[in-house]
């Protein structure tokens, strides 16, 4: 018991000990807390963007969205499965897409029956080897080069034989000509071809590498800028508020913005009308479909009741129409569209839904006006203008005679000006993260296209818009 008296005495004495810390301690604590908070915010934003991207990617690539492309892929797969692929070769799908590869097959075939050419092709390989060995960054291209080497060296390559047999008549004629002892011409041609292939591969490799390096440089620059600005931000009071925005709704063209079903009259679409040489087909109606926008924004207070914001967003709009069966051959296509068309659909038996996707990069600028005096739940009216640029689209155009759908993006106006308006209520306006939500309407002031299926049509979007603002308190 007595022993405890000493401890209690010491404890009591030391509880009185108070030493005021130097000012630098709080400064450091404040900086560190801020850093951790910023890290948390960045992680949250990255996570949000990742979810958006994953969701968007899944949505765009889900089988329900494009049953046609799926069918096409599956038919290609079944065709390829029937073919014997040699060990070590790359997939058939890649071969089909790569025209330079078909050229390689031809060369391999030529070499089979002609040992004379072997010498210079092997020399060519030796010549290009140092380049390919030094640049091992792009594995896919390296694989392709290895495959070319194999097919060039091995004269008894079964795959090359099969390939040349299955290939067009042009290569067979070429082989026959070679067999008729026109070695000199063949040598020059083959040499040129192989050089072209190698040089095109080299070009592709260097372009790929260059674009990769460019991306890395851009990202590094962005990161450097970010760190620079973050350092400044700690010292200065920032008046711009960073936020993220997400809108979801329905996109449409024309007046019927909310209609989802086909009109009865449209059930006749796809049936030929007129007669004799004057028959024609009518396209099916274009139906509204899902749309969303996701992006980041910067907001600034003009006055206590007026806010200004600008940002950058990705915009996805889609429209759905009914099309017939896909035509794989391009032969029935009208000659004037042959140059730019790559997808052809018949309008007969328009039973399949086709989603016309439009991907835009958008720069929205808007002003918000507070409508009420409630500080806890302020209501705003938003109005703004948007400038957007089409990134890609698979939208179909229509040819009434002979009733074909085809893809031709040159008919679409790539740059769009739009007007937007909406209402929003702000929740947690006093907190660190304000949350805005409300209805949103967008009207594309620029015509979607000046001719074709979307001639003089304007995009409209109706949906719900949300914003999360990271306010500094």
């Amino acid at each position: 018991m007595e022993q405890n008296n000493f401890e209690k005495n010491v404890q009591h004495k030391l509880d009185e000990l108070k030493i005021p810390p130097s000012d630098s301690v709080w400064t450091n604590v404040e900086i560190q807390i801020g850093k951790k908070e910023k890290d948390r915010r960045i992680i949250f934003m990255l996570f949000f963007i990742l979810i958006l991207l994953t969701g968007g990617f899944w949505f765009l690539n889900s089988p329900e969205n494009n049953p046609y492309e799926n069918k096409q892929i599956s038919s290609i797969k079944t065709k390829d499965a029937g073919k014997a692929t040699p060990p070590g070769s790359i997939s058939g799908a890649v071969n089909k897409q790569d025209s330079s590869f078909q050229k390689t097959k031809k060369i391999a075939g030529i070499n089979q029956g002609n040992t004379y050419l072997k010498g210079f092709t092997q020399n060519n390989i030796k010549r290009f080897r140092p380049y390919s060995e030094n640049h091992t960054g792009n594995k896919n291209i390296q694989k392709q080069i290895n495959f070319i080497k194999q097919s060039l060296i091995k004269p008894n390559n079964n795959y090359s034989r099969e390939a040349i047999k299955a290939d067009s008549e042009i290569s067979l004629d070429f082989e026959n000509e070679l067999n008729e002892k026109e070695y000199d011409i063949a040598e020059i041609k083959s040499k040129n071809e192989s050089e072209n292939i190698e040089s095109s591969l080299q070009n592709r490799m260097s372009i790929d590498r260059f674009s990769k390096e460019l991306k890395v440089q851009k990202t590094t620059r962005k990161l450097i800028k970010k760190t620079d600005t973050s350092a400044k931000k700690t010292s200065e009071k920032q008046s711009w508020i960073l936020g993220i925005t997400l809108s979801g709704g329905t996109s449409s063209i024309g007046n019927n913005s909310l209609g989802r079903n086909y009109p009865l009259a449209d059930m006749n679409a796809g049936a030929p009308q007129g007669g004799g040489a004057y028959y024609y087909y009518t396209p099916s109606a274009i139906k509204n479909s899902a749309a969303f926008t996701a992006g980041i924004l910067l907001e600034k207070n003009f006055s206590p009741k007026t806010k200004f914001s600008l940002g950058i967003s990705y915009r996805y709009y889609s429209l759905v129409n009914k099309v017939g069966n896909k035509i794989d051959s391009i032969l029935p296509a009208p000659s004037q569209y042959l140059y730019s068309s790559n997808n052809y659909y018949t309008s007969v038996n328009s039973l399949h839904s086709y989603r016309n996707n439009f991907h835009y990069l958008e720069l929205p600028v808007s002003v918000k006006f507070q409508l009420n005096k409630n500080k806890r739940l302020p209501l705003f009216w938003n109005a703004g203008i948007n400038i957007s640029q089409l990134i890609s689209s698979n939208a179909l155009q229509f040819q009434s005679n002979p009733g074909l759908y085809y893809n031709d993006n040159s008919l679409i106006n790539k740059t769009q000006f739009g007007l937007s308006t909406g209402l929003s209520a702000t929740f947690f306006s006093k907190g660190k993260r304000a949350f805005n939500i409300g209805p949103y309407f967008y009207y594309g002031a620029t015509k979607l296209a000046n001719k074709g299926l979307y001639n003089k049509a304007h995009f409209t979007f109706i949906g719900l818009r949300t914003e999360i603002l990271f306010q500094k308190k």
């Binding site: 030391l14 009185e16 108070k18």
Partner: protein
């Protein structure tokens, strides 16, 4: 401002509230950190680390005890981590197995000021200092100290006994000198 309100404001990450909380607790917490370290700059380093933990983990405070006690616990743990990881202290914190030393029954009256007493505790070897602080001041049991420092309970007991003897000896000497006028209070 009421402590509950202050806590709520801190949870909302309001800088003014955080500063208030810091101002309220920092001097007493620096006193704790001061007892575990050998220099004021080290103590401030521990305090800084401790408060960063306090603010980032404030949502973990369930409110079942005193906020001050919760912060104190964080400071003690931060100090122990600091001692374990800092090169300067790590070597001194290694404990040799010692034969059990009986705790003296001496109970001198402590007439020293808090800072003088803390200074004497800091003069103890790091191992003694740490165990004395944990047992005598913080009130941890030897079994708890053993698990905190990764030593046996016996070692904790014997280290404490030796630290106590040494400290009492120093307190008596210091008190005598103080009474005879050799030392002035700071």
């Amino acid at each position: 401002m009421d402590q509950d309100l202050l806590l709520k404001e801190c949870l909302k990450r309001r800088p003014e509230a955080q500063r208030r909380l810091y101002d309220h607790f920092a001097p007493s917490m620096l006193g704790i950190c001061f007892r575990y370290t050998k220099s004021l700059s080290d103590a401030e380093e521990v305090l800084q680390e401790g408060f960063i933990k306090v603010f980032t983990r404030l949502n973990q405070f369930k409110g079942d005890g005193e906020l001050g006690g919760w912060i104190r616990k964080i400071m003690v743990n931060t100090a122990l981590n600091f001692l374990k990881t800092n090169q300067k202290y790590r070597h001194d914190l290694s404990f040799d197995e010692m034969p059990l030393h009986l705790v003296s029954t001496e109970n001198p009256e402590v007439i020293l000021h808090a800072k003088e007493l803390a200074e004497l505790i800091r003069q103890l070897p790091t191992g003694f200092q740490t165990i004395f602080n944990l047992h005598a001041v913080e009130g941890y049991k030897h079994l708890e100290i053993a698990s905190m420092l990764g030593i046996s309970e016996g070692t904790s007991r014997s280290q404490y006994a030796r630290a106590r003897v040494l400290l009492i000896e120093w307190i008596e000497k210091f008190s005598l000198k103080k009474q005879s006028g050799h030392y002035g209070t700071k």
